[in-house]
Symmetry: C2
Subunit: 397 residues, 2 copies
């Protein structure tokens, strides 16, 4: 007998997948370079050469039994030492290597963090619009989701709604800044207010609410914007990081958890993650990838293309009359669709070879997401298609 | 609040870890080359050069965005095509690429397979002595364990006890051949009898019991021994494979699930694994490791050293009067200790710089495991220590 829950999950058609398949089909007809595919968050700039050089050097010089041998389940100690040092220097933190746990990128980091600070049946608070995979992460830990509706004017946190919805069953709050799908960076004021509320509610409820901070876009921040380091503002915080975006390594599945050393249980939580892994079958990320990433942990890919693309798209969307908040980072932008039904809107866009993602699955319907991690030249070419789409389909605007 | 289940797990002292720490300490005193460490299953022969060459070639020639880009959650299609072809040629199977799911080695494969064919609350049957991580794998899927006691004369399956214990709550049976910790390879007769019982019980209970076959040692089989391919004998079977041992890549976390195409649900089960991953945070193994392993999927490391080591140890153990079943494969041997308390026995051995693992955690107490994946020269040097240990501590034997 097959598990019925997972079998049911197979039946749900993903709109993103349908769009992506349509784009692939169209690409076969007119050449993929002529399909303006804004659907996927796959980085479009290469990993720094030093990563590649380090990989080759490790392969050429290291004893293969050591190089490819078992990593301790919590991560390779020399790697965690380098990462802790880097975080401490960059953010003025005081992480010990034992506060870190190496993970298979952010998905694994969040899945572990959630299991570490909740019991099955607890509630986890998330903020719309949110990355849709948060749902399986939270339900996979046996918890329920409490969704705070979006503040669509700013896409900062809707604190009024947050205060209404927080309750003693909420053991953890999960945020994502810079944000997928909005591209918005939470301001220092937002994070301070969030921390104040969590402290007050922790006192009221009699336990520490944990703040899980999903930070894969931490390094993709645009000119004039400051992305505060979340853990500086709240002691009971867990930073979940991934090198997928900053180093353009999404397929190598590498990231970490860093538990705030101000939390008296920081090392216990990080160490518990090794126990959590035993039951989920995760184990460690690849040894060679751990070693190579540690060598470039203070570097990023050349991320400037994302800001260039954002400015082109933002200006064009504004001039076309879209309601849109200017992104402060990431490679996403999140305008309001030109009709209430964003799915219908995105299906019409397909006729113009524009692949846009309707935001219904982000729990903030009526909007759509564009992932502009593509060549700037292609972004420029897409502008004519965007204009034609809007002018033809929504002429009265 | 921290999860209490995982916090409790931290308190359990692992005997293997204690021994390993003692060995490390002793190594600092007398040099690690003089500590006869038989505790860890870390391969002692290098990965084939072609793997290393392929890795370097991929790094030097492939577009890094493609090379390190997201793998589909079920695995890279070209990789699964090569692996299916290889399995079909080697074992006369008929796997489609869609029957395969790429995993982070065997741990992940088993964790996924269990979740795919059980519901929480179901029972999973395992056979003593067993790899102790089977417990978190099964309990992590929300299931209960039914342990069939060992047949200590042969370490094949104790079918009498199996028939007594199997019941309609058992939805899956998990086996491991060649076996850790015994080194025994299940004979064709054993697998045929097992399959017959499963078919009869499936009919009786009204559903198909799944056979999950954990096969990381499939390629480490000694002269004169045949290791039958389990899935040839039972339709409702899932092969869980890892390249950790056969290619000496334990740190790279790479393996797969292959669902028997004779099962009408084979592709559904493999596809469901992608849904299961969403909740456990596993996602795919590293892209570059998938690609490189596919190039060497018909190769193994030079595994002959394990047989050489086994013969030296087996002969010596027999001549010292140990009761021991001759291993047919793997790099383990599993003799009976010279006193009832195998922990006490192994602690005494430490005084002679011999690191042996008491088998209490394998649910077959009174035995100990030696992992002879070490240099043959060191195995030879250990013989004098073994003799001295036995003659000094157990002189009356």
């Amino acid at each position: 007998m097959i598990n019925e829950t997972y079998r049911e999950m197979l039946k749900k058609k993903s709109v993103i997948r349908e769009l992506s398949e349509a784009a692939t089909e169209r690409g076969k007809e007119i050449g993929y370079e002529n399909v303006f595919d804004y659907s996927l968050g796959n980085p479009s700039v290469p990993v720094p050469q030093r990563f590649t050089d380090t990989m080759i050097e490790l392969l050429e010089t290291k004893n293969p039994m050591e190089l490819h041998g078992y990593s301790p389940s919590l991560g390779i100690p020399s790697v965690k030492e380098k990462l802790a040092k880097s975080l401490n220097e960059r953010f003025g933190m005081d992480y010990k290597p034992s506060d870190l746990f190496m993970t298979s990128a952010a998905a694994s980091a969040i899945a572990h963090a959630l299991r570490a600070v909740t019991e099955p049946g607890d509630e986890v608070m998330i903020f719309a619009p949110y990355f849709p995979e948060y749902i399986p992460y939270v339900t996979g830990a046996g918890c329920k989701i409490v969704v705070v509706p979006a503040d669509t004017e700013t896409f900062q946190i809707n604190f009024g709604k947050m205060k209404e919805l927080i309750n003693p069953n909420v053991k953890a709050v999960l945020i994502n800044t810079p944000n997928n799908p909005t591209g918005v960076v939470y301001s220092e004021e937002t994070i301070k207010t969030l921390a104040d509320i969590l402290r007050a509610k922790s006192r009221e409820f009699g336990f520490d609410i944990y703040l899980i901070s999903d930070e894969p876009y931490r390094e993709i921040v645009f000119e004039g914007v400051v992305a505060p380091y979340v853990s500086k503002y709240y002691d009971h915080s867990i930073s979940c990081y991934s090198y997928s975006k900053s180093l353009s390594l999404p397929g190598e599945r590498i990231g970490y958890i860093a538990v705030n050393p101000a939390d008296p249980e920081s090392t216990t939580i990080a160490t518990m993650c090794g126990q959590i892994s035993r039951g989920t079958g995760h184990n460690c990320p690849s040894s060679i990838i751990q070693l190579a990433v540690a060598e470039v942990c203070d570097m990023t890919s050349d991320l400037s293309v994302y800001e260039t693309n954002m400015n082109i798209l933002y200006n064009e969307l504004v001039s076309l009359g879209f309601k849109v908040v200017k992104p402060g980072g990431t490679f996403y932008i999140y305008p309001q669709a030109l009709e209430d039904d964003a799915v219908a809107f995105c299906k019409k866009a397909l006729k113009y070879d524009l692949v846009l993602v309707p935001a219904d699955s982000f729990a903030c319907p009526g909007y759509f997401r564009m992932a502009y991690c593509i060549d700037t030249e292609k972004v420029k070419r897409s502008i004519a298609a965007l204009r034609k789409f809007v002018e033809t389909e929504y002429p009265s605007r």
